[in-house]
């Protein structure tokens, strides 16, 4: 184990990991929803009004970040109701089942998988079937794209990978980097660099004056 710090990964299923940076960023993504009851004095916060005393009228459409939606969601006191963003709906699902490799998952919200898992938190009346088909679709998409990620991460050595990585969402990017690291470590070892002592990248960034310059 050569690392001193292990970042906390994203959470499992419907639960987020409190300490995970990925989860925190992911929960900032917005969901479309509706205000079920009037929200007094919250117009400014939700970006819909100028005065501090304005309230959001009932039934108006809002774009709420996930963390706020989770907090306000309660099936008994109907404050807001959420609906699935369009990428998780029927139309996109057929695109995924046709060819999952083509879709630019980064553009569709860089946290497609994590966000999709979180959406199951909201008990929509039609949720059970949607949840099922949704999770199945997520899983199938992941499986279909797995091959592409594996091949590209294990074969692109020392090349510019930005074109390959542009269409992956964050979870897939992390996986891609793991694959690249494995490849790089192996190549580095094969060239014999593994036993050479090199300056650590942190130290190089300090920009210290080198010995030759000090003497001269």
């Amino acid at each position: 184990m050569s690392e001193a710090y292990f970042p906390v990964g994203p959470g499992l299923g419907m639960e987020e990991n409190f300490l995970s940076l990925d989860d925190i960023l992911m929960s900032q993504e917005k969901l479309p929803g509706r205000a079920e009851s009037a929200l007094p004095r919250l117009a400014v916060m939700l970006g819909r009004g100028a005065g501090s005393a304005e309230s959001v009228p009932e039934g108006s459409k809002l774009e709420i970040p996930l963390w706020l939606a989770k907090g306000l969601h309660d099936s008994k006191r109907r404050i807001i109701s959420v609906e699935l963003p369009k990428i998780y709906k029927e139309a996109w699902r057929t695109v995924f089942s046709a060819d999952a490799n083509v879709v630019d998952l980064h553009k569709m919200g860089p946290y497609y998988y994590g966000f999709g898992s979180q959406l199951l938190n909201f008990e929509n009346p039609e949720n059970p079937e949607i949840a099922q088909t949704d999770s199945v679709c997520s899983l199938q998409t992941f499986i279909a794209r797995f091959r592409r990620i594996m091949d590209s991460s294990q074969n692109a050595y020392n090349e510019d990978t930005s074109a390959l990585v542009a269409r992956l969402d964050e979870l897939e990017r992390a996986l891609f980097q793991v694959g690249q690291k494995g490849l790089n470590d192996f190549q580095c070892w094969e060239k014999g660099q593994a036993s050479q002592i090199t300056a650590s990248s942190l130290v190089q960034n300090y920009g210290k004056r080198k010995l030759a310059e000090v003497d001269g």
Partner: protein
């Protein structure tokens, strides 16, 4: 595990050398080595062989599998079959690299050997990836691969385990299970 660590484990393998010095039997924690007599072949671990070679105190004898004919056979067999063929040494990749880097003058046709071993490695890695892909695609619960060496496992291991971890997380979403714990106030 880093490739350097796998190489460290590989250096325990025994290889034959012909020393040009003499020394009595030495007693190390791992076992006894020697005695060393000039001109008589003796078996030592690779780490010692490389060290002695660098100090020009011995001549390395390549292991019997490190021969163009044999490696060609192995490579062709690897290409023909779908499963992994047993390799002559569980550390063939590391031994090839070490011996060819430090003792290429003692090994005939070193470049061809290097190419053959690389070909075999590429074929095996491609098979490994293919089998990983079919494992993921069919969502199998269990797979068994024989005759893999540690270096191959190490190169693809982290990626595969992380991908399977993600699949597990996505799969647990399929079972909504217990109702959500919400607070009522």
């Amino acid at each position: 595990m880093e490739p350097a660590e796998v190489e460290f484990l590989a250096e325990k393998e025994l290889v034959t050398i012909v020393p040009n010095f003499s020394l009595d039997r030495i007693h190390l924690i791992g076992g006894d080595l020697g005695p060393f007599n000039p001109g008589l072949p003796v078996e030592v671990p690779v780490w010692l062989a490389i060290n002695l070679k660098q100090r020009q105190k011995c001549r390395l004898i390549p292991p019997e599998w490190m021969d163009v004919g044999k490696l060609e056979e192995i490579r062709d067999q690897e290409r023909k079959k779908d499963t992994f063929t047993p390799m002559p040494s569980p550390y063939y990749m590391e031994l090839t690299k070490l011996l060819l880097n430090y003792a290429s003058d003692n090994i005939p046709r070193a470049d061809e050997i290097r190419t053959l071993v690389k070909d075999t490695w590429d074929t095996r890695m491609a098979k490994l990836r293919l089998s990983a892909d079919s494992f993921v695609r069919q969502q199998e619960a269990h797979a068994k691969l024989d005759n893999l060496t540690l270096m191959e496992i190490n190169s693809t291991g982290t990626f595969l385990t992380q991908a399977l971890d993600h699949m597990y997380k996505l799969r647990t979403n399929l079972q909504p299970g217990e109702s959500s714990h919400s607070q009522d106030f």
